[in-house]
């Protein structure tokens, strides 16, 4: 009696694989084999934000099936650049019931269960049946992933599910210790079983500040020395998730338009928290360079001579009149002013010491 149904139909056709006869190479004897129809009955993959998957350009395909004793390991790969080196591994036992469903996330190929399993156990182990159970194999991979995680929320590059039929037919062509392999795209998964999340949501917000314009030392002066690398983009915060809020700080305005679902950030003198009394650092550890008091290394207004007796400007004229003479020594940064009373009627001939001033500009 026929057993109509989606899974049952799929046990009798290549689906979820695009039909592809004799594309799998058995490494033990170099023969080509069909992938038995009754191995897979359904498959689906979810391509994450980092997968770089593009529909109609990239594919998902079965790369390897290896067998250790009664354990079958299926490795699926994708041609999407972001999934390079990261595969989906599914494991089944020869005695598994029909339609076992398994959801997995990607794992590094370096920790491929096939290579790990085939290289880690001797023939004695195989004979003795000391192969670790499936959960322990899976957990060894999971722990390696968790060690690599950082503060950001861990998210798989891609993930998928596999529903299988029977392993009996596969077992007749794949001896224990051997691997069936297919070339890139030879055993392709139906494209309509792949769903991409690329561009579908904002995962995290991250904050950074580009460097400010920093002062340079004048030619001939020692360069300014900072305790950190300059010219960088400085990270302020990473991986903001949940419900972050925006706050108008110094001279800032934030306007929220619920109708347009928009936020406008603007500037206005004295807006927000007003004008700052101190410089706002780009990152927590930012300090002025050695010998300076400003974060950008520039001179403060009162660090330079802006005027003498209230007379300022880019060029200040210093003149001597009657009774005083002036000797200019630019190379020595020196002006000698000699109050020699020249031109004046004096009743003594005592020599007056010259007074001079030197200017320091560094």
């Amino acid at each position: 009696m026929a057993k109509p149904g989606f899974y049952n139909d799929n046990r009798n056709r290549a689906y979820p694989i695009v039909f592809c006869p004799e594309k799998m190479l058995l490494n033990c004897d170099g023969t080509l084999h069909d992938l038995p129809d009754d191995v897979f009955v359904d498959f689906g993959a979810l391509m994450g934000l980092d997968s770089e998957y593009v529909e109609a350009s990239h594919i998902v395909y079965l790369a390897n099936i290896c067998r250790i004793e009664d354990v079958f390991i299926f490795e699926f790969r994708s041609t999407a650049p972001g999934t390079f080196g990261r595969s989906l591994f599914f494991t089944r036992n020869l005695e598994d019931e029909l339609y076992v469903t398994e959801d997995v996330e990607d794992a590094e190929e370096a920790t491929s269960l096939c290579s790990l399993s085939l290289s880690s156990f001797s023939s004695d182990d195989l004979v003795a049946g000391s192969i670790p159970s499936l959960p322990s194999l899976s957990s060894s991979i999971s722990s390696e992933i968790s060690l690599a995680s950082d503060d950001c929320p861990e998210e798989p590059v891609w993930s998928g599910y596999l529903v299988t039929g029977t392993m009996a037919t596969l077992a007749t062509i794949l001896p224990s210790g051997c691997t069936l392999s297919a070339g890139t795209g030879d055993v392709q998964v139906e494209p309509a079983l792949i769903r991409s999340l690329i561009g579908h949501y904002a995962r995290t917000l991250n904050l950074a500040n580009d460097d400010r314009t920093r002062a340079d030392a004048p030619d001939g002066c020692d360069p300014l020395v900072y305790e950190f690398a300059t010219g960088e983009t400085y990270i302020q915060a990473e991986c903001l998730v949940g419900q972050p809020r925006l706050k108008a700080g110094y001279n800032a305005t934030i306007f929220q338009d619920d109708l347009e679902n928009s936020i406008t950030i603007g500037a206005g003198v004295g807006a927000g928290e007003g004008e700052p009394c101190e410089e706002v650092p780009l990152f927590d550890e930012e300090v002025p360079p050695a010998g300076r008091t400003t974060l950008d290394g520039a001179e403060r207004c009162n660090d330079t001579v802006r005027s003498i007796n209230g007379v300022g400007g880019r060029i200040l004229n210093l003149q001597t009149g009657i009774g005083a003479s002036q000797i200019n020594l630019p190379d020595l940064h020196k002006i000698v002013i000699d109050v020699d009373m020249s031109g004046l009627a004096t009743c003594f001939d005592e020599q007056t010491d010259g007074a001079s001033g030197s200017f320091d500009s560094c």
Partner: protein
Amino acid sequence: MPEILHPEWRRHNEPTKYPFAENATLRSGNNLILNELFLDAIFYPVGNAGNLRLSVVEIDHDSTTIHIGTPTVARLASGEFNQFDPPSEVRFTDSLGRAAGVIVSEPIRLSIFQSWAVGTHTFTAAQSAFAATVSIPSPEIGLRGIVLEDGTLFTGDVWLVGDDGVVLSKEEVEVPTVDCDQGKRLTRPIIRVDIVGDTLFRRRLCSPGVLFNTPRYVKQITFIEGNNRFTCTPDILGDIKMMAGNHLAEDTVLRVRTTEDGIKIESVGERTDIG
């Protein structure tokens, strides 16, 4: 003739309306969508709440654009291909370029659009609704992305970077939970925006640096009189006072006075050049 009991997936779909719903008429005016035109499909445009349909087919002289839509949004996403070199898969994206799905067919099947009249052909839900299984609901919940005024969309891990005098920083704020009686407070991140300017922006405008030479400002003046040295730095306003006389000689003849363009140092007294 032997019957294939379990045809391959695509062969199985070929004579059926799939990926359209069984009750779709697949006809709009003189335009008929043949059963074998599409073999498979999946759609997951952002904002899709279900009930997707093939809404519009735009035929140009050399291209075909297929739009899918919902009862409320006729053009939710689209896929375009060259009429004279049709692909085997048509990729769909929405107006912001986000992935929205794929139609699986064959070039020979898609080439049938060459026989459609140039123009816009619309379809109703009754005519071209997709089967529910190919329409993945993707409600627009949470922060889907950030769109700039020019339409640029940012998704994934979005970086906000302060520049040109804008400084971004993170603060934490405690907010009460919904159940205020419990007194519990949650810590939520705040993105603080400070607009403080870039003090040396003129130098940046003069970049590369060859256009700007750092000036050598006068920072202090050293007065030397004989063996005495006095180094003066500017006051809070950057000014240095230079005066004649001191507490020992209040009646000095020396004068330091300001002129229109500077400082003049001179003495006063009976001049020898006056008769």
